[in-house]
């Protein structure tokens, strides 16, 4: 048991099984405010499944997920988002038929109900915020471009931007630099270091060089369980981790 109780995210004994196969098993994970946590692990370790359970996409079979002292298990996806959790998917998931501006606009956290959306108006305030975010994600020049015409890296940024529009307190990014060129990774690291202020971030990533540049704490998942946790330094010298990554 952890004595500290003011964590932003508080996961205990979390588990899920698909037809008897335990994808995640008895997981405990605590994320502090303003922490940037990176989850690494080999393929099939259950990393994405953990994010899926936090954001409500997959229902856990056991355990609890508390966010700001509210139980997330059992809540609908949109309610979890509204309580302050943002999630980026592994493959960039943006609206290809809408422009960059519109992509950001529909992510603005007002007019989320049906009738709210009917009454919603794009006020100068909204436009202001869209420009602000577009600046941050390097897409200020591309506001009128349709999503489909963006490069892969730009789509990744746009999706991060869509999350920023919601001002989440917990941001979860699944492989944000996958498929990016070296200069794009550079810019993404810069972006992450800028947007981490005032919020907690969980990132799944494979690129160790990238991880070492951004992470506060690294959690290693293996076969649905936590193998090791600590700073990047500690992790790199942990014999169990070396065994899993290089052993076979």
């Amino acid at each position: 048991m952890n004595a500290k109780t003011d964590f932003l995210l508080y996961i205990e004994d979390l588990g899920v099984s698909f037809d008897g196969f335990k994808a995640v098993d008895g997981l405990n994970l605590y994320v502090e405010r303003n922490e940037l946590r990176v989850i690494i692990g080999p393929n099939g370790a259950g990393k994405t499944t953990v994010l899926d359970m936090i954001c409500g996409k997959t229902q856990p079979t056991q355990g609890s997920i508390r966010f700001k002292d509210r139980e997330l298990v059992g809540m609908a996806e949109h309610q979890i988002v509204r309580s302050g959790v943002g999630r980026k998917f592994q493959t960039p998931s943006i609206y290809e038929n809408l422009t960059v501006f519109e992509n950001l606009e529909v992510s603005y956290p007002k007019g989320r109900s049906v009738f709210g959306s009917l009454a919603f108006r794009t006020t100068p305030e909204v436009v202001e915020r869209i420009h602000q975010v577009a600046e941050q994600i390097f897409l200020k020049e591309a506001l009128d471009l349709e999503g489909a015409f963006l490069s892969h890296g730009q789509k990744q940024w746009l999706e991060i931007g869509m999350l920023l529009m919601q001002e989440p307190e917990l941001l979860m990014l699944d492989e944000p630099v996958a498929g990016m060129s070296a200069p794009e990774r550079e810019k993404t690291a810069e972006l992450l270091n800028r947007i981490r202020k005032g919020r907690s971030i969980i990132i799944i990533e494979h690129d160790m060089e990238f991880v070492s540049r951004i992470a506060d704490t690294v959690t290693v998942l293996h076969l649905g369980k936590i193998l090791a946790e600590g700073s990047m330094q500690e992790i790199q010298h942990n014999p169990n981790v070396i065994e899993v990554y290089l052993g076979h």
Partner: protein, 293 residues
């Protein structure tokens, strides 16, 4: 008697549903013309009966068995043609297959009407199919019902063996699971699709042959069964053979029994309502296995 009417309905529904489950479950094609393939089978039997009784009366006692095979072939070949000319352009667009096959069903219905007339027709059934067993005073089991039931069970077993024990059945299932991979593994997926569709249609043809023993055939006979058949397939869980059998049985029995107690169409209404309610609560059907997302 009432429960036996249920058994005959069960046979027809099950045969229809098996064909549809293969087409819908395996290929994701919504074939709203499935009922017309059944009617095609029934008309084939009627035509065989007319030909045999006019030209080869000596064959009259045996023709029915051959007619079942012909019904299978005619419906299957038509299915082959339909897949080639229409369905293959619509894979991955299930809602569009639904609209296009509805159009096909209108064309087929009108063709039946133009060729055979609007009036319902009945083939002359061989003597040995008529009459009934009388194991005791109060029980009366019609032979045609038993025959159709036997035919249905044999065919169901045959389909199961074919799907799960034969090489082409394996290829069909592989294509459903992973089309690209199957193609890479050397399976001709286009041919498998065409074969799957025509097999489903062929079985509908046999359903039509079975149908002639319990009712007379009209241009819209098939369309009367299409909704029920789809509900049987969905209710049973699309990928489950046992589920299809169980739901065909339940729906047929339920309908026959309720029709006995409730007047007119209300028996059918009650059964349909129950199915729709269950599907709203459990959309994946009764027998679907839990899928890993």
């Amino acid at each position: 008697m009432q429960s036996f009417a249920g058994f005959s309905l069960f046979s027809v529904l099950l045969l229809m549903a098996l064909g549809l489950a293969i087409i819908f479950g395996q290929m994701g094609v919504v074939n709203l013309a499935h009922g017309e393939f059944m009617a095609l089978g029934a008309y084939t039997v009627y035509l065989s009966s007319t030909v045999v009784h006019t030209y080869l009366p000596a064959l009259a006692p045996y023709y029915f068995v051959i007619a079942i095979v012909i019904a299978f072939l005619v419906a299957g070949l038509t299915g082959w043609l339909v897949e080639w000319s229409l369905i293959r352009f619509l894979y991955k667009r299930p809602l569009d297959t639904l609209l296009a096959t509805w159009g096909l069903s209108l064309i087929m219905q009108q063709s039946f009407r133009s060729i055979f007339g609007a009036r319902e027709v009945t083939p002359t059934l061989p003597e040995w199919l008529m009459g009934s067993f009388k194991p005791s005073e109060s029980i009366d089991i019609p032979i045609n019902g038993v025959f159709v039931m036997g035919l249905t069970l044999a065919l169901t077993l045959g389909i199961w063996l074919f799907m799960y024990r034969s090489r082409i059945g394996l290829q069909m299932r592989a294509t459903v699971q992973n089309r690209v991979m199957s193609g890479a593994a050397g399976i001709n997926t286009r041919l498998v699709d065409r074969f799957t569709f025509s097999l489903g249609c062929g079985i509908a043809g046999v359903a039509g042959a079975a149908f002639t023993t319990i009712g007379s055939t009209g241009p819209d006979s098939g369309s009367r069964y299409i909704v029920d058949t789809f509900l049987v397939v969905v209710f049973g869980g699309t990928a489950s053979l046992m589920g299809t059998i169980a739901s065909a049985f339940g729906i047929a029995q339920g309908q026959s029994i309720l029709e006995f107690f409730l007047k007119g169409t209300m028996g059918k209404v009650a059964v349909l309502m129950v199915i729709v309610l269950v599907l709203m609560i459990r959309p994946q059907g009764l027998f679907a296995s839990k899928i890993r997302s």
